[in-house]
Point group: C2
Chain length 409, copies 2
Amino acid sequence: MAGLVEDLTPREDALSLVSSALGFPWGIHGGDNALCVQGCRILKDIVSDEDFPPFPRSTRDGYAVLSSDCFGASAGNPAFLRLAGEVPMGVPPSFRLNAGECALIHTGGILPEGSDAVVMMEDTDSAGDWVELKNAVQKTDNTVSCGEEFSRGDVLLQAGRKIDFRTSGLLAMAGVMEAESAALRVGIISTGDEIVPPGTMPLPPGKFRDVNSALLTSLIRGEGYQVSYYGIAEDSKNLLASVLEKALGECGTVVISGGSSVSMRDHCSSILEDLPEPGLLIRGILMSPGKPTLIAGLKDEKKLVLGLPGHPFSCFLSAYTVLLPLLNAMIWGKPQGSWRKIFLPSEETVFGHSGIEEFIPCILREGRVFPYPVKSSFSKALALSDGLYRLPASQETIRSGEEAEIWLW
Amino acid sequence: MAGLVEDLTPREDALSLVSSALGFPWGIHGGDNALCVQGCRILKDIVSDEDFPPFPRSTRDGYAVLSSDCFGASAGNPAFLRLAGEVPMGVPPSFRLNAGECALIHTGGILPEGSDAVVMMEDTDSAGDWVELKNAVQKTDNTVSCGEEFSRGDVLLQAGRKIDFRTSGLLAMAGVMEAESAALRVGIISTGDEIVPPGTMPLPPGKFRDVNSALLTSLIRGEGYQVSYYGIAEDSKNLLASVLEKALGECGTVVISGGSSVSMRDHCSSILEDLPEPGLLIRGILMSPGKPTLIAGLKDEKKLVLGLPGHPFSCFLSAYTVLLPLLNAMIWGKPQGSWRKIFLPSEETVFGHSGIEEFIPCILREGRVFPYPVKSSFSKALALSDGLYRLPASQETIRSGEEAEIWLW
């Protein structure tokens, strides 16, 4: 324990130290996945094959015009244009506009040759073959130009993006149906004499259900990776070593969620120390909670191993702020987490300690941020909070009204 | 079209009007789901069967003490207690503490009878049978009390919560392995003569791939519901009506994503008008984008039908701010969306219009909020923004530095 405390590495230093010692990114293999696989992360930049839209199109219902034909038009001084036809949906118009002409067009319709803008329906009146335009338009108004959404060669989505509602529509627009996704599998090993499987009911005296494996599984799957569970290892160095060996044979990354007993921790750190080059790299992180985090790696075999603390909230914080960024660095080179950072004035004072990076759960109420009012209850803190206050090592307290760094889930 | 514009209903009024006209919540059936089904939403409150922890436990490595035995202890004036033993992990201690005694304890260990607090290891020194305590503790310090996480009868998770990393650990802690989840299926029908299936390559001139069905599928699945896709309906009232009938037979909610042609819109609104009681309820919403949103319902049959605009960004916004809240209201009674609302000063001026609720994409840069700088490119706006500015109908412009209402994805 003393060794751990002396060796604490600041979290961001740990991320870059591990990334460089292990030579991230590793060029992990991918698996082909249909577009509809919600939550997958794409392995390589997706590049457009085409200009989109391939023709200038209308973004409104109205009349396609040559903008110079309605220069200065207003309700008091309307322009009158001859109606040359209606643009059909789904095919290029078969006619072109001459000076002084317009064409009825619908949202998504292709602009006829000779037009360069669209006057909105509500700014017009029609009378037989003539249309009254009560508003001037500039070139390209109410249209989307050829290639405006994207052009051939444009990066549509960068490697590492997740398939979700923000990206699915874009991929469909570009006709991309399949994308190679990161096929990373993370093995989870739980340890601790007091730990019993999650479904154990009733709970025997002194036991604790395996919360960490459920939490880590959910967190890692949510990030777009696969999980294999290797059960609860008994308090024996040989047994733990053989489970780890099996897991390392089947997974790119293995997470050992920490036993509380000193002997189990000793087993874990001594097993990680025995790993081939470079072996155990980080023996504790200068953060609270989450201090007793161990990070090791096998550079040639391209394997990453983490030992996470046993307390569920510490285990979560270490996984959220260290494990997930490392997985992303391993694959895409950037130690990026999934939080959304914002700066907001805190509605209440938040007490911390200087000299260590601290994370304290926060809640949003009507768009304002408050510290989550419970001391150490894991269950309520994680389920009911909206994110974390981050207090850098240099900061002791955030005063009420002072701007705070917030990481929203 | 004129009719639509005259009948615009403010969005929040539309949500409550529909909820009350259709008698939400409907008491939708559930399906049993294993805990590990990431992204499901639980249908009923999950209530604890037990007090947790069942015994007071230590949250630190250190020594269990009776707090009054180390009253006033400090580095200069330490207290000395006799070491009575070590608390084993995973079983209740077989001994009790007498006055003047302490016991070695690890994180998660059960406090022996006679103790009420834990002194952290780093505040102690041990010498044979005696332990030197260099810090005083209060009753319950560094412990979690019996029932402190939750007690029998406590609501662990409210109906409507999603299974994700925030809730999985808590359920595992409580031994809850299965939870009934909302088994709602949403049918999606696309319309529009210009629309072709997403995989169409190359894109024929004048056509547009079916972006909206991909986007809606991803959005609805991400919310925890199932999706059935009924393809692209041709521009014929009878055909659309028969696809809708089929979809209504198989799904609790059907979404028709809007054709751009006027005739298709007319077909859609006239089909919704022909539905049984109460039929078409909302003929347009006072929001931009997303105005041409139609909402209808069948109260006796417990079915909801929406017509969404054809432009992908309008379709998305209407689904995000109207459809998803209605699905949640249908099941849990509250028209709740999935955005995270915060108030942040805008780094730049955002121009809007008064008289209509507007949504404008925003981005976060280093924790500060900016309007997303692109006019109408759907693909970039949705994939690269971090959320939306909401400008209520009463607000025209947000000045640089002024506090803005932000909805983060």
